[in-house]
């Protein structure tokens, strides 16, 4: 029983971790190379989920929905970069926060107008709707395993892209010194737009993949965005490796705390109260983790070389 719960919750933690990575990696890359903090990144995740759910419902194909979600994330990111973010590069972080905060308000309301205020339903594809025995006697939903696989694939792809390709080399160079890259004749505007679209695609992909696990609803972007901030603070701003480590830490800490606190508290409180208290106290765990990491290493676990 306990072993079952532990394996199950650890896999759930991994799943949340890879989802967070897909958000945090985009955020941290955008910050690392463009020095822009984009609060509306969560809106790209939300847009991916809504577009993905709609396309899946219309076509009956989850795979098409996933593609559409990622494409919507990339496209909206590209448009945002051209229309708004481009004007913010030279501004201070406060202006960036306020402008992208205004974008969140706009996107959330726009989604309410287009899809209505109620959450919409996105089912896992039939092929992945069963369970898989991950260990003898321990079944686990196949779809959640697929989410982990997609997240890990995204991480490997990003690692390859950044570590092994010419584009990745430019991104790394841009993170270290933007002016020099520009002086060497690289079209920095194009590079920025590409990185933004890449971050958007990852966020959109994460949004669709999250659909069958979490609810597709207005405000889903901000919940994950704030957790992604915790990831970035813990992992170190601007570092993809830090985003990976931070995501897994935060994903596991959050899931474990939510799963095991009720068990602990049930001994102390009446069951109904224990569940409510534990559910909310469990959400506090990741912030405590952040506070501890910050007091030991203010720059995060993998600080970017200044």
């Amino acid at each position: 029983m306990t072993a079952l719960l532990f394996v199950e919750q650890t896999l759930n933690g991994l799943q949340l971790g890879v989802m967070l990575f897909m958000i945090a990696a985009g955020l941290t890359l955008i910050f690392g190379i463009m020095d822009v903090i984009n609060l509306a990144h969560g809106s790209l995740y939300m847009a991916g989920a809504f577009v993905g759910a709609t396309v899946t419902a219309r076509t009956g194909s989850f795979a098409l929905g996933v593609l559409a979600g990622a494409a919507a994330g990339a496209l909206i990111a590209l448009l945002l970069e051209l229309a708004v973010i481009r004007r913010l590069y030279a501004r201070d972080h406060l202006d960036q926060v306020l402008a992208t905060y205004a974008l969140i308000l706009t996107f959330n309301e726009a989604v309410k107008v287009l899809w209505g205020p109620a959450p919409i339903f996105l089912a896992a594809p039939p092929l992945l709707s069963g369970t898989v025995e991950v260990l003898p006697g321990i079944p686990y939903p196949a779809y959640r395993l697929a989410v982990i696989a997609v997240g890990l694939a995204a991480a490997l792809f990003l690692g390859w892209l950044i570590g092994r390709t010419r584009l990745g080399m430019l991104i790394r160079a841009g993170t270290t010194n933007r002016e020099t890259v520009q002086a060497l004749g690289v079209d920095i505007g194009l590079l920025f737009a590409l990185v933004f679209a890449l971050g958007g695609a990852l966020a959109g992909l994460a949004g669709v993949m999250a659909g069958p696990v979490l609810a597709v609803q207005v405000g889903m972007g901000e919940q994950i965005l704030i957790l992604a901030f915790v990831v970035i603070v813990v992992g170190g701003l601007g570092s993809v490796r830090g985003a990976m480590a931070g995501s897994l830490l935060v994903g596991l800490a959050d899931t474990w705390a939510r799963a095991f606190l009720p068990v602990l508290l049930r001994g102390l409180l009446p069951p109904a109260a224990a569940d409510q208290v534990a559910a909310n106290l469990g959400s506090v765990a990741v912030y405590l983790l952040m506070a501890v990491v910050l007091s030991v290493r203010p720059q995060g676990l993998f600080p970017r070389h200044a």
Partner: protein
């Protein structure tokens, strides 16, 4: 000169507002004005941190909400006749504002000192994200208290009394809120012109120089952050009375964002600007909400345009002065 005129005009307008509204038979608007005054107090308090201290706090909603909950919880227990806590010492509920409001400010001051002590180890974007995250933590902590309504919020049976004088009805609360705002503006104005304020501003403009001069930059910022948190908590206590209801929504990141918008819209580093910003933003929200249910779809793009193209804030237009920033 123009700034003094603007301040005098504003003060006069607020002083006569209750009488004008009564004459026009629109007294219900006084409650709306009280809400604006409370937000104005919170925005001015945030300006100490943001405009003068250069600390971009995205977590002041936590103090606004916590202050509201302290006042609300004390009233709740007073009505129930129960104790807030029995151990280590018995604390009962109270309706007395002279106890409850300082308590709200003190709790928020301690909370701000704790959050500030960790967050101020970082700066810039880190500070924004960390204050946002800690505010979210406070949000979940409050939701974890099942006896205070959780996500449903806490109804307040009756308002505070001030030295035995009930704040029931719209006018008494309005006057108290107005006096508190005026007192804070006078105090903050003086504090920012004092040695403390000059040191704080100096550290924002050039931290290395301030450190080289031997200024205790970390401590100065922590004091400003704590003070700001405490005053924001006081504003929350007023809001709880105004609405006779405490919603966990006050603790949410949206409130923190709204407070930031008020400061920037009015002009950071001017104290009076954020007051004007609060009035303008809330008035715009009220008006737009009457026109369409989807008023955010109007307000969002307008805010975006303001940030992109209208810099310096409303106070610069009205009073002809630039902020400290």
């Amino acid at each position: 000169m123009r700034e003094r005129l603007a301040v005098a005009f504003g003060a006069a307008a607020f002083a006569v507002a209750p009488f004008v509204l009564e004459a026009l038979d629109e007294s219900f608007l006084l409650s709306v004005l009280t809400r604006m005054l409370a937000y104005a107090l919170a925005a001015a308090a945030l300006d100490l941190v943001l405009g003068y201290g250069g600390m971009m706090s995205f977590g002041h909603g936590a103090f606004l909400g916590t202050g509201a909950y302290v006042a609300g919880v004390l009233l709740h227990h007073r009505a129930e006749g129960s104790a807030v806590m029995e151990w280590p010492l018995r604390v009962g509920g109270t309706a007395e504002a002279l106890i409850a409001w300082p308590a709200a400010a003190a709790v928020c001051g301690v909370l701000a000192a704790a959050i500030g002590a960790i967050s101020l180890r970082t700066r810039g974007v880190h500070f924004i994200m960390i204050t946002l995250a800690f505010a979210q933590m406070v949000y979940f902590l409050v939701l974890a208290l099942p006896q205070y309504g959780g996500t449903d919020g806490l109804m307040i049976p009756s308002r505070n009394v001030l030295a035995g004088w009930p704040l029931a009805g719209d006018a008494p609360l309005y006057w108290v809120a107005l006096v508190l705002l005026a007192l804070f503006l006078v105090f903050a104005r003086r504090a920012m012109a004092s040695r403390f304020g000059l040191a704080l501003r100096g550290a924002r403009m050039n931290e290395r120089r301030a450190l080289a001069l031997g200024l205790p930059v970390y401590r100065l910022r922590l004091v400003a952050f704590t003070l700001s948190g405490a005053v924001t908590g006081l504003a929350g206590a007023i809001l709880a009375n105004q609405a006779s209801f405490v919603s966990p929504d006050l603790l949410s990141w949206q409130r923190s964002g709204e407070l930031l918008v008020m400061v920037i819209l009015g002009g950071q580093g001017t104290l009076f600007g954020p007051v004007l910003g609060a009035l303008a933003l809330l008035a715009a929200e009220e008006e737009l909400a009457q026109i369409t249910e989807h008023w955010m779809l109007v307000l969002g793009p307008v805010l975006l345009l303001v940030v992109l193209f209208f810099r310096g804030g409303l106070w610069r237009v009205v009073a002809g002065v630039r902020g400290d920033a």
